[in-house]
Every structure is written in C-alpha cells, then in structure tokens.
Assembly symmetry: C2
Homo-oligomer: 676 residues x 2
C-alpha cells in the first residue's frame, strides 16, 4: 500500500497491482493551478484504517464508516440519495429502474459528511457496500433478544448497519484510490471536479431552451416549426433533429437523408436566421453506408450494435476517423449533438455490445461499456475545441472525470421525483443532468415538469414522439391525431417558463463560470451548502441553483408542498415575502417554489432570444439589508478564448445603500428592485 | 473439448478447465433407471458447431442458433417468455423487476423448439446472449440502406438478430455443459428433470389449500382462526405461521416465543385436530439466541445477515447442525416450512451476504448466493426424508437440479400477468411456482387471483399483513381497521375456489406422480404439448395443468379474454360446450376459463378436508367419444414408501361405452358424467 500526495487536498493510494486501462489513464493527469493553490488538508483516515486484500474472485478494499457520517454520490443514482446501508454494483445501463447501482452514468466516487471523498480508478463494474452488512464477530452490536422484526421499517433500521465501507472489484489484483479531503464536503466535490479538469462553461445559447422536433419530420415541417416559434414568440435557442435526419439509423450513416432533407444548407441558414443552433441526434454505431465504415473497421470492437461498428475510442485512430465526420458536420454549422444509446442497454434485446467483446486497444467489453459514453463525449468535444468552439450537447452515459465534458445527461425514464433527485445526485459526481419534458398525462403535469426543467442544467422539451408541440396538446395520442387544445393557456404558461429560464441565464452563466474555474457544481444538494444543518441531509426534492437560489419543484398534482428553508433569511421569489430559515414552510403556488437567500444581488434578463450576439437587458433584484457582492461574467459567449483570460468578471455591489454598476459591454441594467 | 455420452439422451461436454464447486458436484450424479431406458438420441449439433475459448475476463462458449428456432427457460424469468434476442446475466435476486436475468430462481438451463436443451454446470452469474448481437463480419445480413428505424417495433425486429448463442462466465477457465436431446422439447425437459433426480411427489395435504396467518398473531388468535375455518367451512389443509412464532426474527432463534405462543404442543394438537398441517416461517440466518449458534460459527460465512450467521451449507457439519433443529421441529409435528429471503436480495440494503464473502468450504459469495436456496432446501428436505416423511414447503430461491426439491417458489412481487408467466417458465426448468394471493384492490381482483392460485402448484392465501382473512376485507387498510365487508359473497366465492382446488387433487396427484417418475412437469407451457403449432409458441398467459386441462386465467378487470385452443377438440369445463381446436375463442365468464381435452377421463373430488387419512369421493367426467385411459394413484399419501413400490396405479378406461372401475382403497366413485 503506497500513499502519495498529489495535491494539497488529494492523495493517491496504490493497492495491489492496479489495471492499466482505467479512467485516470484516459482522462486524468490534467494540470490545474486552482488545485495546486488550495489549502493543505490532513489525510482523512488514521494510519492503517484502510485495508485491502486479494480474494479468490477479485480485490477487496475496506474503509471505516462512522455511525454518524452520511455518504452520497456514485453518479446518476435516480433511486436513492443517502447511500448508507446500501450495496451497489455500478454498471452502465439504460434500464436503471432498480436501486442496484445500475445507472446511465454511474461514477465510482462518493463523498462523506466527514468532508472526504473516495474515487476508485476503475472502469470495472465495481461494487460498493456502505455498511449494508457486518462481518461476523468483527462488529458486535447490541443484540436485543426480544425484538421481533415484523415491519419493514424495523428491518431497514440503521442500528443493523455495519461500520465498514467495502469496495470489491471482480477479476483484478489491485486498484488505485484517489482520496480527497476538504474544509467541507462541498470543497471535496470541488477538488474532485478540478482534478477531473474543472467544470464546463457552456456557450451562452446552451443555457437557453432546446426543442427536439418530431422524429419523422422533414425539412418543410421543421422549417414551418421554426416559423411558428417566431410567430408565436416561443423563445428557443436550440433545435434538435431526431434520427430521421440521417439516411440510415439505427446504426448511423452520419449523412443527411436527401428525401427528408433535400437542402441541409438552407435548413441551417433558416435555423441560424431564426436565432437558433442546430443539434443533431446520433449514435456511435457506424453503419456500412457511412463513408468511413471500411476505414474504421480495423479500429472497432468484434461485435456489432444494430449492424453497426463500435469504434474503439481508446485508440487515437478511431477517434480521428469518427471525429473527422463530426468535424465536417460542425463545419456546416452544427452546434451540438445528442448522443443516444451509448449507455449499455445490453439487456434491452442487445442494444449494446456484450461484456465479452474485445477491442483492439486491449479493452474488454466491460471496460468499454463503462467508459463508452465518456469516450464518445471526448471524441466529439475535441472536434469543437479544435475549431475554438464550445458545445452543450446531450448524452446518455458517463463515468468518472465528467466535469469538463460539455454534455448533459438524459434518460428514457420519466419519474418526476427521480428526475429531480437526479439533479442533486449528478452534482456530487461532476455530472449534469436534465429532467427533460416529453408528453404528459395532464396540462398541470406538463407545467410542473416544465417548471423543473427550466431550473435544471438543460432546459429541453423533447417532442420526438409528437407531431405538434406538447403545449398545443400534451396527450400523445390526441397530439398524433391532430386534436389540439382549444385555448392557448398552456402555451402561454409554457412561454412564460421558457422566458423564466432566459431570465436566469446571466445568473447561471456566473455559476457555470465558477464551476469551470473552482469546480463548484452549479446545481447541487442542500447538504453541500448547509452541511451543519442535519435537517437538510436527507432532502432530495429541493436543491440549490447557484449559490443563492433554492428550488423546490412541486412533483405531484396540486398546488402545495412543504419546503425546508435552511439557516438564514429567505425571500419568496414570486411574492417577495421574507421567511426565517431553519423551518418548514408550506409553499402554495401555481408557480415553481423558488427562494432567494437574503443578501443576494440577483440579475434577471428580459431577453427573448439568446445567441452569440446577445446583450443582456437586466433587472437587478436586491434581497435584504446586507447584500453580498455578486458578479456578471462576460466573454464572447461561444469560443474557448476565455481560457486565455479573455473574460470579464464584473462586480456588482451595494455601497452606502446604492447599487454600484460597472461599465459592461454585454449587460445593460434597466431597473432595480429592492426587497426587505 | 471432450464429449461423453452419459445417458441415451444426455451428453457431457467438458470445455477448458472447469470449476469444482458446481451444482453437479453438490446435487448431480443421481442414478435414474428411467433415464437409462429412454430411447437413444443423436447428438443435436454438428461436429465443430460448439466452440469455446478463454478471454481476458472469463470463458466464452458459442453455439449455433437457427433463425427458425425458439428458446425458453433460464428458470423463473417473470418478465419474458421466448428468450430469443435477449441477453441475460443470471443472478439470484429478490428484486427481479427488470428483464436482465435477475430472478429468485434463475437456472442456467434452456430448451429449444429444435428439441435440445443446454445445462451449464455453474454456480456463477453466467451470461446468456441469445443472438442479441452479431459479430462483426461473421454474420452478414441484408443491409437495407433506406430503412430508418424510428419506431420501437422496428428496433426490436428479428432480422437484426444474430445466429449464435453466447454463454459467458466471468473469472473461470472453463465449464462443463450437459446437452440434452429428445423426440420433442417436452422430452428434453423430462430428461433434464430425471437427470436432476426426478420430480417431486408432494404429500397429499400439500396439494390442498394453505393459509398464512397474520404476522403479529398470537396463539389465541391463531386458534380462533382455526375455529372460524371449521365453523365457516373454509377448506384449508395447511396453516402457516409468520416470523412472530419465533422469539427472535430477523435473524432467527428457531425457538417459540413464549409470550405469543405459550403452549406450542397444544397449538399443534389443535391444528392437527382441525385436519391441518403446520407450516413455520424461517430464514437460514442464525441469531445468537439460537441454541446452535456457537456450534455453527466455525461452519459459517464471514459476513452476517441481519446479525445472524450464514451457515455454509456446502459443509456436512453445517447441514447437520442446522438440520438438527429442523428435525426437532419436525418431530413436534411440523409439516412444512417457508424459507424466506434466501434469494440474494443484496441490493435491498444488504439483506444478503456480499459477493466477496468467503465460506469455509471454499465457496465464495457469488457461488454461495446462487446455490444458497437449493442448499437450504436440501438440508431441510433431508430431515423430513430421514423420518420417512414428505414435505411441500415454500422457498424464495433456487438454481439448477430443482426437480426433486419439495419446495414451491414464491415472491414479494405481485403482477398477476407475471405471476402466470412464472407458472409456465418454471415448468421449463424443474421448478414449481406459486402466484400467491395477498391483499387486493377490489373483490374482483381477489377472485381473479384466487382463480389462478388454485390452479397452480401451491394454492395459498398469504394474509401475513392483514388481521382478518382477505375474503372478509380485501383492502389492506380497512382490514387492519376491522372494517369488514357487509356480505359473505366474497367468502362464498372464495370457498368455492378452495373446493375447486380440492376437487382437482386426485387429477393433480397423478400428474405429480408422473413428474416424480418420468419428469413430466405438472404445470407447463402449451409449446411443450403442442410444439408443431406455431400459434402457441408465444402464449405465456395460458398453460397446461397436467395432460388434459388448459387453464386460461383472466388477468384484468372484466369477464372476458381470448383463448387459443390447440389442435383437437376441447370442452369448456363449466358449460360442457365443445369447441374445435386451432382457433381463438372468446371466453366470457366470472369463472376461470378451463378447457378439457377431448378424450379425457377426469376425476373430480368432493372432499372438504384433505389429510393423510383422506379417502376421495369422486365424480368421473368423461369427455368425448374416444376416452383415453387415465390413472388414479394411491399410496399412504405422506411417506416415501412409494419409492419402494408401495403405490397403486389404477387404470380407468371406457370399454364398450362403459367406465370400468377398478377396486380401489382410497378412491370411491359416486357418479359419472358424460360430455359429447
């Protein structure tokens, strides 16, 4: 067991004989000034507290687990929040409907309320046992001889839990751990994100609203949709095309279908003229009709998916060949992609290569499965970066080292509560997640889901299954039949929500800029901001958007929910009413319950369209008597030049009761409101 | 690759270096005269058609898969029936809600409509890929360049499927296959069951009705329940007690709780006097308060489950120590047990030992997990057998070689359609399954579920969650509050169904006797009886009970369903109406649709109570003009003496238009009905 400090907050621990083809090998080792300059921390475990051994089937690592600490993380776990008492085997899987560790984007990283984090550097289906069981005799507990467990609650009780975390990797002889320490759990997450390469800063339009159009739509239908958006003032920034744009899918030809889309250049012009960016659906499975099929063949795995080659993205050759076509599409003006079905849905009738696949790089199917999403993301992102462009794309799989990847996760699942939990859990593991809106059972459900998605990393309506926008008919069957709603009420409310999203873009852009620079997740669980307040530890249905906004979506029918407000004063965003913290309040509203922290200077934009040329018109809201400084970040909105310092950091502050407004190029302040 | 013929219908194929602690090692190698005498078959694969290789992660076996053959099996798969196009990783798991191979009782055995079967002799979480994917270039198919898959149906289409079965076992260097051939798929299943040791013959009362009483019930409440059964003429043969009978659960003390049950002997007398057998709940996790805890300790795994020891049932010492207490309970008169939570619910907050456990026999956690249910079954069954007694118990886990085990599987899941599919799928793999009835959303649902369960391997009402019998109130909350239904209508219909079950016991006893002797599953999919009729290949919602009865439960609200009748004439059991086969009919009835094959001589009993002393009073129904011979089987109903030939096989036949009735001791025929 070798321990080596890599950064003031990070140690590497080598246990046994580690594998070569790990995430760190492919994605790690990035330099980061911020990380070097963090305050020195002490190693969070006592000497000898971590142990490891080879077993007949693999490698077992054990770490201590205190009765009073709580664990979070493991990536996009939609079914659970606090991980204590659970056993999970991480496996990339599209059908992650059980709380077993299967996930679109499982991440072998967890954090503790004791302000440490553990990253297991593996691409294996690693198993985590968080005190779910106890070793015989090693962990005695009170044995209450009279207790009869006949109720589920008793069976799940905490006192039955063990005091060890066990990490088991099958078929290996060792592994490397990265151990993170911090002043707080939030700082641990920040260290992990910086260690991954820092967070992502989206292009400005990426923070706007995305509409994915009907699967079978042709060019004419897409163009008339664009016209409707303009005519009906629906403020979208991105338009997504589904598989039908390609001449062959699934698997993909990566070529326009000349029947459906006879003039892609004209389409692109029209999209840009309408002030939108185009997002194209794809899958990383390459059909024989793709121009680069034969060239890719030697750099592919030995099993097909949907009759397509699976590129071995661990090889630079595969990344180049696949990336070249991506680059061509970017050169025609594509702003983003939707990277579908890269999440190992191998139990859905073989929508994935098997674990026993082999890839020419030496990766086996299990490794390739877990790293596949991350590797495709990097391959595509590099093509944007070579052109000095950012993207803000969609993807259905990820693993560790996700923070710098300009992709937001999504799912075919559709439980509203799980979708909200996903926002929180993604924030522990360097991931971004979107609770996308599709069809709904009622207009009310449509609005409730819209309220959540506009307050999430990616604001998207995914209408791939319906010919008409869901605000004209939320019901999938009636929509298909062209039976539309009689009033525009739903559309009007939907428009307001899309505008609400746009209003928050300057605030969000600053939050993402801090994500990029300091690793602070822009969307996160309350426990990261209020670790001392035990009442927030289990809250998985409200979250922080940036530092100052508490978002508490209403998940079900009805207009009310209970919201816990942590320490400090809070203002209802809609009414301006002030509440003291450390209490539960009942929010009764048709809006989404939003609470602004006292002391916030909140910029709100009134822009209808968000493009690379946008200059923001702002209302500034000032909450409480002791406003903290806040910042507005300005750059060219779309290139990577900010990495070379081409970015302005404007401070907004209240001095002697007056808002001091710096001179800015891309922000104009038209009004101020004060809340007391 | 070594191939060796073991029996006229069975070959063993040794591929690479096989593991030692396999199911065959523990459960196989039984002699069977019937198997020796089967007709010689030819090996079902061409020379070189089966291949195998070691990969970096395990061992991969491939077999050919024809486009026109269909595969079934893999144990208790509740989510799917035909396995073509699926990839499954078998893992014993209580929360088997996805179609991934997780199951209470996965079995590494499958059968083909081409009349062969493959048993993989492994206790590992083996993966089966049934043509889900294709190898690159090895399996060319038509590549339709214009096809755009935008609908789910297209994506699942058969033409995308590969022509190989792949079997992958991680972390091993080889495996043994047993390959079965037969005249028909049914004969293949029979061979597999005989190879496992032959089917089970339950004690006669095991074919009656079981009522599991309320969890917290005490002796007084249980005794008054018995009185109610007698007073209200509810014909039960077995009474089950839930965890509350023990002084400690979960894990178990295996001792009576002296507060709840001050006089177990008296209880036992009362149960027997009422004509019932007692079934006790247990878990194979041994709490410190069990008398044999210290003795068992050295023969246990290194992790606790619910603070209890996990016996290493691979060791004779563990079987003896655990079995001794079972034997003591049997000596007090216990007829059966319910063996709960032995099914690796390791993702439910650690309700199981981890895969990285070690057992003193050398078994690791993965092996122990998959064999655990089978091993506990054998341990308990041996205690009954030593006392020359049969049992018919309940269990929640199983694996291969299950046919001789006197246990019926059950689940906490509750989907009616899946429960019916379970009956069919269990029949391919030497398993028995019970779609138990618990609480219901409506009286109609209660009756529909009751209709299914009385036509299943074990007829059980599991009322562990409700203080009053569900026929007095099907709603769980109202039941708990003592708000009972105002009329006895539901109870009357329930009583009729329990009587219907009893009526079929002579018919079932004969079917089980054939299961025991010839391996013919008493409950099975239509495809086993009518393999030539392609219309039945996908039917997973109706099934054969014995040779002559087609059962087609109504799964949803309403009174109708479509039923496909295979070749031959069929008679509606209720109306006597005759239908021609090879057609779909609509069954409209408040009863369960049942169809009797033309030519059947069907015995129906009118007995209210089923005990070891039962003499059956029979009505004989004769369907059609050319009745086939049928049999009534008679023995002492409860001991193993039938294995020494102490069993009578009475032939019933129609000779010159008259039913010829043999002289029998335990059957009396009081009437005959003829259907034409």
């Amino acid at each position: 067991m070798e321990k080596q400090q890599c950064f003031p907050t990070i140690w590497k621990m080598k246990l046994g004989k580690a594998e070569q083809l790990t995430p760190h090998h492919f994605f790690g080792g990035l330099e980061n000034e911020q990380l070097k300059n963090m305050d020195e921390q002490t190693f969070p475990f006592a000497e000898g507290a971590i142990s490891a051994k080879s077993t007949s089937r693999g490698f077992l690592i054990t770490l201590p687990l205190g009765q009073d600490e709580k664990l979070y993380g493991l990536g996009l776990q939609l079914q659970s929040f606090i991980q204590n008492g659970k056993r999970k085997r991480l496996r990339t899987n599209a059908d992650a409907t059980n709380d077993t560790g299967d996930a679109h984007a499982p991440v072998p990283f967890y954090v503790s309320t004791k302000a440490y984090g553990i990253l297991v550097d593996t691409s294996r289906c690693v198993e985590f046992d968080y005190g779910a069981t106890k070793r015989v005799y090693s962990e005695k507990s009170d044995r209450n001889e009279k207790e009869i467990a006949i109720r589920t609650e008793t069976l799940y009780s905490e006192e039955r839990r063990g005091s060890q975390v066990s990490i088991f990797i099958e078929g290996v002889e060792g592994a490397e751990l990265y151990i993170f320490a911090g002043e707080s759990m939030k700082q641990v997450v920040e260290s992990y994100n910086l260690f991954s390469g820092g967070g992502v800063l989206p292009p400005i339009w990426g923070l706007g609203n995305l509409y994915r159009s009907y699967g079978p739509a042709d060019q004419g239908q897409v163009e008339s949709l664009l016209e409707d958006f303009q005519k009906e003032q629906m403020p979208f920034s991105m338009l997504g095309l589904e598989p039908g744009w390609q001449s062959r899918a699934y698997s993909c030809s990566f070529k326009w279908d000349s029947n459906r889309f006879p003039n892609p250049e004209l389409l692109m012009q029209n999209v840009k003229r309408a002030g939108l960016e185009l997002n194209l659906w794809e899958q990383a499975y390459v059909h024989k009709t793709a121009d680069f099929y034969e060239e890719l063949l030697p750099y592919s795995g030995d099993y097909e998916v949907w009759e397509g080659l699976v590129p071995d993205f661990a090889l630079p050759e595969a990344r180049e060949i696949y990336g070249r076509r991506q680059g061509e599409l970017i050169d025609t003006g594509i702003g983003a992609v939707k990277l579908d079905e890269c999440d190992g849905s191998d139990f859905t009738g073989g929508w994935f290569f098997p674990d026993f696949s082999q890839f020419p790089s030496g990766m086996d199917g299990e490794q390739a499965k877990n790293l596949f999403g991350a590797m495709v993301q990097r391959t595509i992102q590099q093509q944007f970066e070579r052109r000095n462009l950012r993207t803000y794309s969609q993807v259905r799989a990820g693993w560790s080292y996700g923070a710098p990847m300009s992709f937001v996760l999504y799912s075919d699942l559709y439980d509203h509560g799980q979708f909200v939990r996903g926002i929180l859990n993604a924030g522990f593991s360097g991931l971004l997640w979107s609770p996308e809106v599709r069809q709904c059972g009622s207009g009310e459900e449509f609005i409730r889901r819209m309220q959540t998605v506009v307050m999430s990393p990616l604001s998207i309506i995914n209408a791939w299954m319906v010919p008409n926008p869901p605000w004209k008919q939320y019901d999938i069957d009636q929509n298909a039949q062209g039976i539309l709603l009689e009033t525009s009420e739903l559309q009007d409310r939907c428009r307001e929500l899309l505008q609400l999203r746009n209003a928050f873009i300057p605030y969000l852009y600053e939050a993402y800029a801090r994500y990029e620079k300091f690793g602070t997740p822009p969307f996160r669980a309350l426990v990261l901001d209020f670790p001392e307040d035990e009442q927030v530890h289990a809250i998985d249905d409200s979250y922080m958007m940036g530092d100052n906004l508490l978002v508490a979506p209403i998940l079900n029918e009805g207009t009310g929910r209970s919201v816990y407000l942590p320490e400090g004063d809070w203002y209802d965003f809609w009414s301006g009413t002030r509440y003291e913290g450390k209490q539960h309040i009942v929010a009764e509203t048709i809006e989404i319950p939003l609470f602004v922290r006292a002391g916030t200077i909140l910029p709100l934009a009134s822009n209808q369209s968000i493009t690379k040329n946008t200059i923001f018109d702002l209302e500034i809201r000032i909450y409480g008597r002791q406003p903290r400084k806040t910042y507005l970040i300005e750059d060219d909105w779309i290139s990577l030049n900010y990495k070379n310092g081409e970015q302005n950091d404007y401070e907004l502050a209240v001095v002697e009761g007056e808002l001091v407004i710096p001179k800015m190029e891309r922000y104009r302040i038209h009004s101020q409101s004060w809340f007391d």
